[in-house]
């Protein structure tokens, strides 16, 4: 029995490595440190802030004012009040501005924490809202022409090669069962992989001691692609999130995830 395991280890070092990581995840069980961030996010939602002294309770995340359960799973989506397709992060900034009167040049100035920081308000809110969709089917809206255009744009960007290394998203994410160093890479053109990957963000990153959002993950991908800095809430960011969400549609939200 032991010999057989050793052979497996030698034959499939990558699987073995994932096995160790899966074991670690099993050990952690429900003890994802993100639970503290979830609680914090819920507190932010009900906290009166800004010149208007309002909470975010009247924020419409697409399912009606104040409906949080299942809302995350339907982003990105079109909102008539802004005539734009928005991801959950930009929608929250919008609600902070319209409901609380807070200046978006301040609220969106530093959406993501740096290493060593405590998490930001936006990270906490997104983590709580993802938890409000845990177990919910991923079902981004694609009924509006602007939503479909956003998906088409996302697909074009996914394959767009540029920079000194000629990297696109597809360089790492259009093949199945590949890894970079020891890190498994999801094939984001494949429904199964896209559902597993998209549904697990936001996630607690053990190496950073922080919860990271999908928007942050995209910014870090482009850093590694040797591209310039991806702007928070930009069209490229929302288009790629739409591309992933639609490819993942039908999968189940498992976030907040627990990652390396």
């Amino acid at each position: 029995m032991i010999t057989r395991w050793c052979l497996l280890w030698l034959a499939f070092p990558a699987w073995a490595d994932e096995g160790v990581f899966d074991q670690y995840r099993d050990l952690m069980g429900d003890d994802n440190p993100a639970i503290f961030v979830i609680d914090e996010g819920e507190e932010f939602w009900y906290q009166s802030q800004g010149p208007s002294g309002a909470t975010l309770e009247a924020c419409d995340l697409g399912l009606g004012a104040g409906v949080t359960r299942g809302a995350y799973a339907q982003f990105p989506r079109y909102f008539a009040d802004t005539d734009r397709v928005m991801d959950i992060e930009t929608r929250l900034i919008h609600c902070m501005e319209t409901l609380q009167g807070r200046d978006r040049t301040v609220t969106a100035a530093k959406p993501y924490s740096l290493r060593g920081d405590f998490g930001t308000e936006l990270e906490a809110l997104v983590t709580w809202l993802a938890a409000e969709s845990e177990g919910v089917v991923i079902a981004p809206e694609q009924g509006h022409p602007k939503e479909r255009a956003m998906y088409a744009l996302g697909e074009e960007i996914f394959f767009y090669r540029a920079g000194p290394h000629d990297f696109s998203c597809a360089t790492c994410h259009e093949q199945s069962d590949k890894r970079i160093r020891l890190q498994q890479l999801p094939n984001l053109t494949d429904h199964h992989d896209a559902a597993d990957a998209y549904g697990s963000w936001p996630a607690y990153r053990m190496s950073q001691g922080l919860v990271r959002t999908m928007g942050w993950r995209l910014q870090d991908c482009f850093r590694q692609q040797r591209w310039p800095g991806l702007t928070f809430g930009s069209e490229v960011s929302i288009a790629l999130q739409t591309y992933m969400a639609v490819n993942a549609a039908g999968g189940i939200m498992t976030a907040p995830g627990l990652k390396r």
Binding site: P13, P164, P228
Partner: protein, 201 residues
């Protein structure tokens, strides 16, 4: 009309990129990024090769353009000035292991790495290797004939000269690595004493 013009430009070998990619897409991309350190917006402008290789895999490719591009890349390969292809394999091992360089958070005054292990298995003693590219363990068994030296150099300099739209970066053509670093990586691959060419147990 635009496509025909594009082809003619390419076939004439003039390196001007016309707008096969929609201008909207380029504008959206430009508007979504900002300069960060050494990574400026100029990096988002595609050269003809990047433009050609940005089609989703199920899109039909134009063979005429592909052949012309591949030949262009082959003709542009610069071989070592002194005719010596092989440097120091141990220095090459360091280049292969380093993943730093050209990211906006990297210090431009420090030498770039080749990050070979991100995608390839090389020395069998290194278990943290990626699988996006083929294993190159025991690569040196192929010998050091002039054909092998020129083939391997060309793959490192500009992979598209042989394999158009390969995922691999153009380490020489894009000046990611300098000539000496490329020679060192060559030795890392081909020197019989290199850790790449040691038995796998």
């Amino acid at each position: 009309m635009k496509t025909t013009l594009w082809k003619m430009t390419l076939l004439l070998g003039i390196g001007i990129a016309p707008t096969a990619v929609s201008e909207d897409l380029a504008a959206v991309i430009q508007a979504s990024f900002s300069d960060r350190g050494q990574a400026t917006l100029l990096r988002l402008e595609q050269d003809p090769l990047q433009q050609h290789c940005s089609q989703p895999r199920d899109q039909p490719v134009d063979d005429e353009i592909a052949m012309a591009l591949r030949q262009q890349r082959l003709d542009a390969v610069v071989f070592p000035a002194d005719g010596d292809f092989l440097g120091d394999w141990q220095r090459g091992a360091t280049v292969a292991a380093s993943g730093r360089g050209l990211q906006f958070n990297d210090d431009p005054s420090i030498a770039n790495g080749g990050n070979c292990y991100a995608c390839h298995q090389l020395a069998p003693s290194e278990v943290a290797y990626g699988t996006l590219g083929p294993s190159l363990t025991q690569y040196g068994l192929r010998g050091q004939s002039d054909a092998m030296l020129r083939y391997t150099w060309t793959k490192l300099w500009d992979t598209h000269a042989f394999n158009l739209c390969s995922h691999m970066p153009r380490f020489g053509a894009q000046k990611i690595l300098d000539e000496q670093q490329l020679k060192d990586v060559m030795a890392f691959l081909l020197d019989p004493n290199s850790s790449v060419n040691q038995p796998t147990e």
